[in-house]
C-alpha cells in the first residue's frame, strides 16, 4: 500500500514539479482522463473482456498440461528420460519468437493467443510441478501403502496435495508470463485486446493511453493472481501449514 502511494507521489512530482513534458511522461491526471474516456466509450471494457477470455483460455491449457506432464515426468523415470530433454530444449526459446509462426499457423484468432500463452506458461508450471512431486516425503506414501492404499490413493491423497505449494508457485509465476505473452501477441497482430489498444495508442503517440493500458494490465494481473492463486493458497497450503506466510515468519 505504502509502495503504491510513494510511486504515485513520485509520478506526480515528475510531471508537476520537475516539469517532464506530457508527450514523454503524461501526468497522473491525463492518464486518469484517458482511462475515463476509454471506459465511457466502452472500448476499455471490450478490450479487457477479449484479453481476459484469451488469457483464461491460454492459462487453463497451460496449467492443465503443465501439471499433467509434470506429474508424469515427476513420477516415471521412463517419461523423464523420454520427454525431459526435449522440453528443456524448447523452454529456452523466447515465447515472442513463436508469434510470427503462430500467426501463420493459427491466424489471428483464439487459437493463436492460446498457443502463445500456453507457450509462455507451460514450462514454468511443468518445472515447478516436477519439483513439487519430488519434494513430497517418501514416508507419507509408504504410510498410505501400509494403510492399504494403492498407487491411485497415494497420488490423490499424498502427491497432489504434497506438490501443491510448488504447483501454486509455478502458476503464480506462469500467470505473469501468460500476461506478457498475451500482450506481445496482441501487439503483434491480434485484433482488439489491451495489447492492441496500447499498440494503437503508440501509433498516434498517445502516451497517456499507453500508460492507461499498462495500468489496466497491472491491475488485472493482480486481481487474477489473487483469484486464481492466493485464494486457493489461503484455503489449502497456508491453512495446512505446508507453506509459511510472511507474517507468520516474522512472528517467529
Amino acid at each position: 500500500m505504502v509502495a503504491i502511494l510513494l510511486l504515485a507521489l513520485f509520478w506526480w512530482a515528475l510531471t508537476n514539479v520537475f516539469g517532464v513534458p506530457e508527450y514523454i511522461f503524461p501526468s497522473l491526471s491525463s492518464v486518469a482522463a484517458a482511462l475515463w474516456e476509454a471506459l465511457l466509450s466502452g472500448r476499455l471494457l471490450d478490450d479487457t473482456r477479449i484479453s481476459i477470455i484469451r488469457l483464461l483460455l491460454g492459462a487453463v491449457v497451460g496449467i492443465v498440461s503443465g501439471i499433467a506432464l509434470g506429474f508424469l515426468v515427476g513420477l516415471s523415470r521412463t517419461a523423464r528420460i523420454a520427454v525431459e530433454p526435449l522440453i528443456n530444449a524448447f523452454s529456452g526459446i523466447a515465447g515472442i519468437a513463436w508469434i510470427p509462426l503462430a500467426l501463420a499457423w493459427f491466424g489471428t484468432g483464439l487459437a493463436m493467443s492460446t498457443f502463445v500463452i500456453w507457450n509462455g506458461m507451460f514450462f514454468v508450471v511443468f518445472a515447478n510441478t516436477i519439483l513439487g512431486v519430488s519434494r513430497v516425503p517418501p514416508t507419507y506414501a509408504q504410510a498410505i501403502f501400509t494403510l492399504g492404499g494403492d498407487r491411485r490413493e497415494v497420488l490423490r491423497s499424498v502427491i497432489l496435495p504434497g506438490a501443491l505449494p510448488d504447483i501454486l508457485t509455478g502458476v503464480r509465476v506462469g500467470l505473469a508470463f501468460a500476461w506478457r505473452s498475451l500482450i506481445a501477441a496482441e501487439l503483434m497482430g491480434s485484433p482488439m485486446g489491451l495489447g492492441q489498444w496500447v499498440n494503437e495508442a503508440a501509433t498516434y503517440q498517445r502516451t497517456d493511453r499507453i500508460l492507461a493500458g499498462c495500468l489496466t494490465i497491472a491491475v488485472l494481473g493482480v486481481l487474477l493472481e489473487a483469484l486464481m492463486v492466493s485464494w486457493i493458497a489461503r484455503r489449502t497450503v497456508v491453512r495446512w501449514g505446508t507453506v509459511a506466510v510472511a507474517e507468520e515468519r516474522k512472528a517467529r
Partner: protein
C-alpha cells in the same frame, strides 16, 4: 510371560540378508537374521544405529525386499505393503493436509467403511488418545506428542493383525515419551495387538517388550532374544526402575548391544 497367547507364528524371517550400496561400497545391513514372532507378542527390537533394525521393519511391512532369504507373514512370503501390516514411522508421517479425524479415519476410508460407522470409530479413537477438542485441527497445529498419537491411532484404526513401529517416539520429548509408552502398552495389552517395536533405547525396549531382540551393527545380526518378566498392563516407569530383575535385564541388553557381552555372543563373533 506370553503363555496366554496362542503360540502361532505370524511373522517369520528366514536367513534374511539385506545389502545396499552407498558411495560405491557394499554395506550388509542384515545378515543371517532368523526370527519368529507369534500372534499377540509385543516384541521390541533394539540395537545401535546402523544395525538394520529399520530395514527389518520395512521388509516385514513389505516396503523393502531382502537381498536373499525370506520374510513370511502368516506362513506366506511377503510381497508388497498391505493393510494387514500397519506401520508407524519415526518421522511424522501423518498427512499435513488432513485434520486429526481425517488422518485417523484414512485407513478406514481406504477400506471402504461407511461414513457413519467410520465417524463413530474415529471418535472412539480420538477419546482414547485424549485429543477431544482437536478433531478439526491440522497436524501443524499440534505438538509433536499429539501428532505421534494421531499416527499411532491412524494405524490402530483398521486393527491390522500386525503393527510395526519404527522408533515412533524418537522425535518426542523425553517426558511425553514416558506417557506415550505407558499408554501404548496399555492399549496393546488390552487389545492383544501384535506389535513389533523398533528402538535404539534399551530402557524403552525393556519397558515395552514381552521379549527383546538384541541386534549387533554392521552387519546387523540377532545376538540374543531376551525374555522380560510380565509387569502387567498398568506398568509404570516408577515401578519398573525399582525392580531388580528389570535392572539385570537392562544391563544384560546393554552389554549385548554394545558388543561387550561375555557369553555366548563372544563365541558367535569369532565364529
Amino acid at each position: 510371560m506370553i503363555q496366554l497367547n496362542e503360540r502361532k507364528p505370524i511373522l517369520q524371517a528366514i536367513n534374511l540378508r539385506h545389502e545396499y550400496e552407498a558411495r560405491g561400497q557394499k554395506i550388509v545391513a542384515l545378515q543371517d537374521v532368523n526370527l519368529t514372532i507369534n500372534a499377540g507378542d509385543f516384541v521390541t527390537v533394539v540395537g545401535p544405529s546402523g544395525c538394520g533394525k529399520s530395514t527389518l521393519a520395512k521388509i516385514f511391512a513389505g516396503l523393502g525386499t531382502p537381498t536373499s532369504g525370506e520374510a513370511l507373514y502368516a506362513g506366506k512370503p511377503i510381497k508388497g505393503a498391505s493393510s494387514e501390516r500397519g506401520m508407524v514411522f519415526q518421522e511424522l508421517a501423518v498427512l499435513p493436509w488432513r485434520t486429526v479425524v481425517g488422518n485417523i479415519g484414512h485407513g478406514l476410508e481406504i477400506a471402504g467403511m461407511p461414513k457413519a460407522e467410520r465417524e463413530q470409530r474415529v471418535a472412539e479413537l480420538v477419546r482414547l488418545i485424549g485429543l477431544e477438542g482437536f478433531e478439526k485441527k491440522y497436524p501443524s497445529e499440534l505438538s509433536g506428542g499429539m501428532r505421534q498419537r494421531v499416527a499411532v491411532a491412524r494405524t490402530w484404526a483398521t486393527r491390522p493383525p500386525v503393527i510395526l513401529m519404527d522408533e515412533p517416539f524418537a522425535a518426542v520429548d523425553a517426558i511425553t515419551r514416558l506417557t506415550l509408552q505407558e499408554e501404548l502398552i496399555r492399549l496393546a495389552r488390552t487389545t492383544k495387538q501384535t506389535v513389533v517395536f523398533i528402538t535404539h533405547s534399551v530402557e524403552e525396549a525393556v519397558f515395552l517388550g514381552d521379549y527383546i531382540v538384541a541386534m549387533s551393527s554392521r552387519p546387523g545380526r540377532v545376538l540374543e532374544i531376551v525374555p522380560v518378566p510380565d509387569m502387567g498392563i498398568n506398568r509404570t516407569w516408577e515401578q519398573m526402575i525399582r525392580d531388580p530383575r528389570i535392572e539385570a535385564i537392562v544391563s544384560r541388553v546393554f552389554e549385548l548391544v554394545r558388543g561387550r557381552a561375555v557369553a555366548p555372543s563372544t563365541e558367535r563373533q569369532h565364529a
